[in-house]
Symmetry: C2
Subunit: 120 residues, 2 copies
DNA sequence: TCAAAACTCAAGTGTCCACTTGACTATCAG
DNA sequence: CTGATAGTCAAGTGGACACTTGAGTTTTGA
């Protein structure tokens, strides 16, 4: 056991296309396990296993009433992944902005590189 | 060959913690393969394989000059994943809003918000 | 009361994939 | 030229994981 972080679990959960299909279905509204399994070409047991992965990653929440387990989206789960992506992209874009500023202000830093003079 | 979609490739790429570490490093700025490999506890060859996955998924872009291959973030790649998540979340939240409206109409009393102890 | 519905659980199987090893190529510095 | 640096390529290995099968449990409707 290698101590998985929340980010780890969420991205692993979303890496499988069947699980993403389940999330897509659930974002239209809650559903039972059998219902979720219907359009999928695999056994109920397999679907249950996927749902367990999704639940442990915090992407969905399930609740059993009688013999029916109802599954629904847990928005905080997806936010974990979204946040990670947005932060990386923000860093990168901020860096590009700074770089743009620097290039706009200065000229070539070293005369060694000033070989390919076409303009100026 | 099972015809992978872009979403498929991106989420698969981000599912690995080493690859996410590479993306994190690259969001501070471009780097060479050797440089990226330095802090990681694995062989150069392994890192190259990870970088190939990232490149094929569109998350990074690489360019070889002389004997050095320089890697950098390709923001459009991350956007594919981000978009998928945002869309699902939007759907779900819109649904919750509509549901809220309906409940507010049918059952006026009880302005209390939901909490999480609905068990027996 | 009983059968069907809706899961649940455990074990087994095949496949994918992260990572290594070792041999090779290309570029650069002295 | 020579050795070092930076990466490339192909094959192999072990473990994780998606999925099945089959047998069991609980709930429910007639």
């Amino acid at each position: 056991m290698v101590k998985q972080s929340a980010v780890d679990r969420v991205f692993h959960a979303l890496a499988d296309s069947t699980r993403r299909a389940l999330v897509e279905r659930l974002s239209q509204g809650p559903a039972s396990v059998t219902n979720l399994a219907k359009p999928l070409d695999m056994t109920l047991a397999a679907v249950v296993q996927h749902l367990q992965v999704l639940e442990q990653s915090g992407v969905i929440r399930t609740e059993k009433v009688g013999r029916v387990r109802t599954c629904r989206i847990e928005p905080e789960g997806l936010k974990v992944a979204e946040r990670w992506i947005v932060e990386r992209r923000a860093l990168w874009e901020r860096r590009l902005d700074r770089l743009g500023d620097i290039l706009a202000e200065e000229e070539a830093p070293k005369p060694r590189e000033a070989n390919k003079d076409k303009e100026k």
